[in-house]
Symmetry: C2
Subunit: 361 residues, 2 copies
C-alpha cells in the first residue's frame, strides 16, 4: 500500500463528506436506507445490549439506528467536521448516553474496548472506488471481538454486457471536440502565427481518455442488459485483507440473452448482504443491490465501460473477458481497469479480441 499524503487525501477525498448537502444525497437514497434500516431493525438480536462501531458515521444515521435497536454503546467515528453535526443529531434524538461520536480517522482512533458489531457504509462506485473498505478492515482487525459481526457481511462485484446510446453520444462529443480543435489550430496559425497542429495527437489522446476511456456513471434500465451478469469478485467482510482487494483480477464470461442486438460495453455494479456470522446468523438476511433496476435505482448507479466499435451479437453468443482492476498510482482512491474481451458467436466464429484500459474517476 503506497504512502498517502494525508493533507492531500483530506482535501481531495474527505472534503465532500463535510457537506450536509452530500450526506443528504446518501440519506435520500431509499434503496440504501431501506437496506441498512431493515438489516438493523430486523436483526435486533445482533444489537441488543451490544457494543457497536460505526466506521465513517457521517451524519450519524447508522450509529443512531444501532442505538435505537438496543445497543449498549455505539462508537461513531468520522474523519470530517460532519462529526459535529452527528453529535448534535445524536443529542437531539436523546441518544447521547449511548452514541459516542469521535472525530478522527479510523486508522488513528483508539477505543476503550472491543466491539460486537462493526457497521459501515463504505461502498463507492462499483464497490471499491474510494478504497474506504481499507479503513473498515483496519477497524475490524483492531477492534472487532473474535466473535464479532460485520454489517454488511458480504459484498460482490458484477458485470454484464449492455446496449446503450452512450457510445454514439461519447463518440460524437469526442468528434465535436476534435472539429473544434482543428478550427482552433487554423485560427491560431492564421491570426497568431503559431502552428499548433503538432499538438493534435496529444490533444486527441487527452480527449479520447476523457470521453471514451473513462467509465461513466449511469442508471441503466434492466432492458439495456443484454447478457447474463458475471460475478467479478466476492468479498467476505469478516476475513478479506487489503491485499485481497488491492487488485481485482477475474476471467469471466457472459452469454447473450437477447436476439439480434448490439454489444456496446459493460455495466458494472455491486451488491452487499447482511447475513451476520455463521455462528450467529441474521434472523432476516437483507440484500442491498445496485443492479440495473426499473424503479429501485441508487445514487451509485452503474459504471459503464464502452467498447468501440460496438459489435452485433445475438442470443447464445458468448463474451469471454478478463478483468483487472488496480488503484491509480496518482490517487489510491481511484481505479484503473483493464478489460480483455472476445466474442464467440454461437455459430462457432470468434470475433477479433480486443484489450482496453479504462479509468474510474
Amino acid at each position: 500500500v503506497p504512502v498517502v499524503d494525508k493533507e492531500l487525501d483530506f482535501a481531495q477525498y474527505f472534503c465532500t463528506y463535510a457537506f450536509l448537502y452530500h450526506q443528504k444525497e446518501m440519506l435520500s437514497d431509499r434503496v440504501r436506507m431501506d437496506a441498512y434500516y431493515n438489516s438493523v431493525f430486523q436483526n435486533k438480536h445482533h444489537f441488543k445490549g451490544k457494543t457497536v462501531l460505526d466506521v465513517g458515521t457521517g451524519s450519524g444515521i447508522l450509529a443512531i439506528w444501532s442505538a435505537q435497536a438496543g445497543a449498549r454503546k455505539v462508537y461513531a467515528v468520522e474523519a470530517t467536521k460532519m462529526s459535529e453535526h452527528a453529535r448534535v443529531l445524536v443529542k437531539a434524538n436523546n441518544l447521547e448516553g449511548v452514541v459516542e461520536v469521535i472525530e478522527g480517522s479510523m486508522e488513528d482512533v483508539t477505543l476503550p474496548e472491543k466491539v460486537d458489531v462493526i457497521i459501515s457504509e463504505w461502498m463507492g462506485y462499483f464497490l471499491l472506488r474510494e478504497s474506504m473498505f481499507d479503513s473498515v478492515i483496519c477497524a475490524r482487525d483492531r477492534w472487532l471481538k473474535p466473535t464479532g459481526i460485520m454489517y454488511p457481511s458480504h459484498a460482490r462485484m458484477w458485470m454484464a454486457p449492455i446496449r446503450t446510446g452512450l457510445s454514439e453520444k461519447k463518440i460524437s462529443d469526442y468528434e465535436g471536440a476534435m472539429d473544434d480543435w482543428h478550427h482552433f489550430t487554423n485560427e491560431t496559425k492564421t491570426c497568431y502565427g503559431v502552428d499548433m497542429s503538432v499538438l493534435t495527437k496529444p490533444f486527441s489522446e487527452e480527449q479520447k481518455k476523457y470521453y471514451l476511456q473513462t467509465s461513466s456513471w449511469n442508471n441503466l434500465h434492466p432492458h439495456q442488459v443484454i447478457g447474463t451478469a458475471a460475478l467479478v469478485k466476492e468479498i467476505d467482510c469478516l476475513t478479506a485483507t487489503v491485499d485481497d482487494i488491492l487488485k481485482v483480477r477475474s476471467n469471466i464470461s457472459s452469454s447473450i440473452t437477447l436476439e439480434n442486438t448490439r454489444f456496446c460495453g459493460f455495466g458494472g455494479w455491486f451488491d452487499v448482504h447482511f447475513r451476520g456470522r455463521k455462528e450467529d446468523p441474521a434472523q432476516k438476511e437483507v440484500e442491498l443491490t445496485t443492479a440495473p433496476s426499473f424503479d429501485n435505482g441508487t445514487h451509485w448507479g452503474q459504471q459503464v465501460f464502452l467498447v468501440n466499435p460496438t459489435v452485433r451479437v445475438t442470443e447464445g453468443d458468448n463474451i469471454n473477458f478478463s478483468f483487472l482492476m488496480n488503484r491509480s498510482k496518482e490517487n489510491h482512491r481511484l481505479m484503473e481497469v483493464e478489460l480483455g474481451c472476445e466474442v464467440r458467436q454461437c455459430s462457432g466464429n470468434a470475433l477479433p479480441a480486443f484489450n482496453k484500459k479504462y479509468y474510474i474517476e
Copy 2:
C-alpha cells in the same frame, strides 16, 4: 505568507493546467490573445536581441511570440507536464534554438542569467484569484535586470454596481434547496425514525454560503452596469510586493448613472496594461480589459457579488463601500471578500448600511 503543502497545491491548482483542453480555452480567448500578441509585436524593440522569461509558459505561446519578435533567448518556465507539449510546440515552430522550456516551479528554478523582460499571463478571476502573481514577483526579484521590463506592466481592479436577475435565481435556488430539505427531514422522521430538523440551521447556512455568499462568474452586459466603476486597486508590476497584494483594502464610491433602477450587487473585473518602463516605454501601449462588454467578453468574465435585498436607486444616488479582500485560510489561491456598503440617495437620505462576507471559490 502561510506555508503551502506543495503536493496539495499541485493537486488542487496546477492539475487543471496540465490539460491541453484548458490551455486551449485560454488560447481561444481572442481578447486575451490579441492583447498579448499586440503588446509583443507592436513593441518589438523590447524583444529584439533581448533575453526574456515567460513565467508559467503553459503551451509556450508567449515564449514563442517573444522569440518570433526577435528575442535572443527565452526561458519558458512551466510547473506542469504541459512543459512537454510546449517543448514540442517550440520545436515544431523552429524555435528550439531560442526558447528553452524548463519544467519546474518558478520558485525553484535557476536561470543562467538575468533577463531583460518578464512576460507572464498570471491573472485569475478578479485579477488576484489563484495568487499566481506571487510567483511573478518572486521571478522578478530574482531574475529581472535592474533595467528590465514587465509584460504586463500595470494591473487594476474595478468594481461597479450592477442590476441582474441572478439575485432572484440564486434566492429561488436557495429556497428550492430548503423546501427539499424540509421534505427530506419529514421523510426521514416518518420512514426511518430519526429527527433531522436540528440540522436545518447548519444546512441552511451551508446552502446560503453556496448560493448567496459565493461570488459567481458572469459575463455582464454593459447595460447591467448602473453606476460609475470604482478603482479598487492599482498594481505596478515592477515594484509591487507580495505584502502589497496579500490584503486588498479600499474605501470607494460609485454614483448611479441610470434612472430608477435596482441595485442588485457589484461586478468586479480587472484590466492590465503593457506600457513598458518609464525609461524605456512601449512604442504602442496596449490594454487588456475584462470589463463588461457587448462583444469583447473574455473567459475571465466578471465576478458578481450579490446584495440582498436589492435596493431601488436612481441617477445621482451614491454608493459608498468598503472593500477588503483576504486569502482564504484553507487555500491561499482562493479569496474572501468583506463588503461594507451604504446607499446615499441624492435626496440626502442614507439607507441602512450593511456588511457582507463573500467567498471567491
